[in-house]
Amino acid sequence: MSVVLRGGRIIDRDGERTLDVEVGDDGRIAAVGTGLSGDAELDASGCVISPGFVDLHAHLREPGQEEAETIETGARGGSLGGYTALVTMPNTDPTTDCVAVVEQVRTLGRRSTCEIIPSAAMTVDRRGTEMAPMGELVDAGVGIFTDDGTGLQDPRLMRRVMEYSTGLTGRLGRPVVLAQHCEVTALSTGGFMHEGEWSSRLGIPGQPAESEELMVMRDIALVRLTGAHTHFQHLSTAASVAMVRGAKAAGLPVTAEATTHHLTLTDAACASYDPVFKVHPPLRTDADVQAIRDGLADGTIDAIATDHAPHAPHAKELPFDQAPPGMLGLETAFALTLDESGLDLPEVLALLSWKPAAIAGVADRHGAPILPGNPANLCVVDPDEVWTVSGAAMASRSCNTPYEGRSLRGRVRHTLRAGEPVVVDGEARR
């Protein structure tokens, strides 16, 4: 069945034009132009047609914590958020550190409404002591390795992982990406929010910004030593942004992401003592938020990621120290970035779509220009629609959004995954 997206304005990495898009029944873009017709039409008037979004950082909890989320529900939320591809994190149970679990995640992913791109752990069971079978995993198509949830503490092993990864470029066909959760646990353990004025007042033990910054500093030094492509996950401090800026200026192969929550919330939110605001790295200060925005504006930070981290309601009904860190992100990312980054729409779309697609190694099929022949992974966004966030209304099995009740501007109207309209008029079709 062919579908025509009518009346919208196309924005992709080639620029901007007002044309209709016809999607063929082969899942590819059939035509871009005027006077197109198809078996069905989707109204795109007042909207922008963009390549689908790519999230570099999603916890879909399967296998292991299906009470909080499944790949099916996580992908549905992704589709509602305009995403057509999600990079899943390996802190599953069992850990995604071998080909068997990667294949399980992929198999589940094929039935979902997004392309699921499993990342794998750098070390066995994310313990930080022995290297995971990276060669085997690369041969199975894994291109991103991370121990996300913790950083790899041992600098010697991190050096070896970096060196080893550079030898796998030929087997993968592109450089392997090592995605680091930067946190020196010796400095952060026992802390549950950002250490500063608010933690001092609230009596919640804090994690200093330096626990992140020391690992950013270390890994930049090790990238200089090894040349391994390192991607800094969820940068949260001003000094981290400055160091990555310097590393890029020095020509090092580093990339970085920032989450929508580090772009929009500060540690003051923890004054409610509601663990819905507990996240790692923690919400930081106004100055850090501003530095993240500056880093997005000047290209230091390459991508917006969600760090979508569902937790069942009872898990957050615990004291602040005992509740697990993390918050939902997939369904709010577009609107928050548009509303609060200070960037214009084409820049927002770049940060959500084609720039992360390049890091994930899927630029051939996600984030690609909207041209005949390219895979039809698309979203249609209404930059003016105002809506109210409701965790209960989200597709996620969990409802731990920190934006509950907040009014946001900008909403995903339609999403097409390989030509299939998986979201139509803001509703998931399956």
């Binding site: 608010w198 933690s199 004291p319």
Partner: protein, 337 residues
Amino acid sequence: MTATLQSPPASGLGRHLLGIDGMSRSDLEEILDLTDTFAEIGRRPIPKVPALRGRTVATAFFENSTRTRMSFETAARRLSADTVAFSAGSSSLSKGESLRDTVEVVASYGADLLVVRHAMAGTAHRVADWTDLSVVNAGDGCHEHPTQALLDCYTLREQRGSLDGMRIAIVGDVRHSRVARSNILAFTALGAEVVLVAPATLLPPAIDGWPVTVFHELDPLLTDLDAVYLLRMQQERITEGLIPSLREYANDFGLSADRVARMRSDALVLHPGPTNRGVEISAEAAADPRSVILDQVVNGVSVRMAVLFRLLGSGQQLVAADIEPVGDDARPEGADR
């Protein structure tokens, strides 16, 4: 937004007592004035009145504290309230039950007021969000311990008539102290000047906006203090790398016999208890006539009676029937189990 220590005062006392933060001078004075009445009851031969007959006070202690629990239970019984006790040792928390489930179960025993003690900051606030009961914070992690601050203020006021113009040093582990946070707010709200005296590692990481001055040495201040408030020092601060040893701490910050001798003749010595003799306070200093540590314990019951009455009683005004001696069924306290 900068985090000063104190939020803007809320309008009067609410349904809960979660912290000194948000309380105005008049809110504090209202409780202290009410405490006078209950202190008088405590001096009666049978220190018991019917003010809260038929009401139930539940204590939910997720962290051990024999003294605070005894103080609240004594206060409740003197007001003729029933008490039910929950402690984490006998709880289901270790069986995967969420805190919210536990609170709902405790509330379902017909309690009217919940006294919550927990090792983590903010837990009493969360509990208050989940229940229709009144909640009294009996200490939440490193955050607040409002009834301790009220009893400390009452003790100082009892000795001096007013806190206005007093210079009070809070000495020791301010970083981990809920007592210090509550007392800084309460002492300054009542007109006192607060100085913090501690090694740099035992101060909160960022206190620029706090209404205090900070010193790292005790000796130069001793002769210029109206009161010294000593905080408990714990052995685990050494393994955490915050101080080298208890011996070094005692040498630099402990209120030794020598130091107490140099204090003014009308100065006061306070400690929230239990004391570590020979660490933050010497036996001589604890026994010095200027020490009001036992007064604090006695006043703790009176203050908690005032708080329970204020939150559960017949409104703000005490009526005669609330505080008349109990009738024929009255027995000495402790015999009514």
